[in-house]
């Protein structure tokens, strides 16, 4: 089974885990599945559940599918202004 490599950057409340994390998932994984892996890598950090994954131009939906390596960001609930 082919794998793809993801680089996920951290923001806000995820900064306590460092700058980001890298891992491989099966090609064709959904964003929901990738969040599941991230949840596991971050020791069940509940913040993941309220967060979204995004690429550099848009927020990805839970049912979006990834077929190639990607640089993503995990965005916790926002509080700008």
């Amino acid at each position: 089974m082919n794998e793809i490599t993801l680089n996920i950057k951290f923001f806000g409340g995820f900064r306590k885990f460092g700058e980001g994390v890298s891992f491989a998932v099966p090609m064709g994984s959904t964003i929901a599945a990738i969040k599941g892996v991230l949840l596991e890598k971050l020791n069940g950090e509940a913040l993941v559940l309220d967060s979204v994954l995004a690429n550099d131009s848009e927020i990805l939906r839970d049912d979006d599918i990834l077929n190639s390596d990607a640089s993503l960001s995990i965005l916790p609930p926002v509080c700008g202004g």
Binding site: F11, G12, G13, R15, D50, S51, V52, A54, D56, S57, E58, I59, R61, D62, S73, L75, P76, P77, V78, C79, G80, G81
Partner: protein
């Protein structure tokens, strides 16, 4: 034709006059400017300062998108929006939104719309630093809602 929207994320000190000068227009009789600053108190705790964090590329996209929405609802508005990224002391300016229009109702309403949407949608976070030495990232609005739209 000159630009009618300025939307930026900056680590330079935010300047009110710059915002005013951008939106000033001979055909506009009303300018509303909203300024957000760092307060010394939050939920009973003494705050010393705030560190802002932001996803630069996405934040700029969202800022521009919100300004365009405002322009389509309040036609002809000129908009200056600048959000700070980095560390701020008490009193520091975290955001400025200036909107000019022919008449005052539009300026007030568009300005209010923009700040409310930014609070809900812009990928920006803040970490408060307290007098007791602790720091905390504040809770906020989940962007997950995008999944249910």
């Amino acid at each position: 034709m000159s630009a009618t929207i300025h939307a930026s994320l900056t680590s330079d000190k935010i300047n009110i006059q710059n915002a005013y000068d951008f939106v000033a227009d001979d055909a506009h009789g009303a300018i509303d400017v909203f300024v957000g600053t760092v307060r010394n108190l939050h939920e009973g705790q003494n705050v010393l300062g705030i560190t802002y964090d932001a996803h630069e590329g996405l934040a700029k996209n969202v800022f521009t998108q919100i300004c365009l929405e405002a322009q389509s609802r309040w036609q002809g508005a000129k908009i200056y929006l600048s959000h700070y990224n980095g560390e701020l002391d008490i009193g520091g300016i975290s955001i400025i939104i200036a909107v000019s229009s022919a008449h005052r109702a539009n300026s007030f309403e568009a300005c209010r719309y923009i700040i409310e949407e930014i609070k809900k949608r812009a990928p920006v976070w803040k970490q408060e630093h307290y007098e007791n030495g602790c720091s905390e990232w504040l809770p906020g609005h989940s962007l997950n809602e995008a999944n249910s739209e």
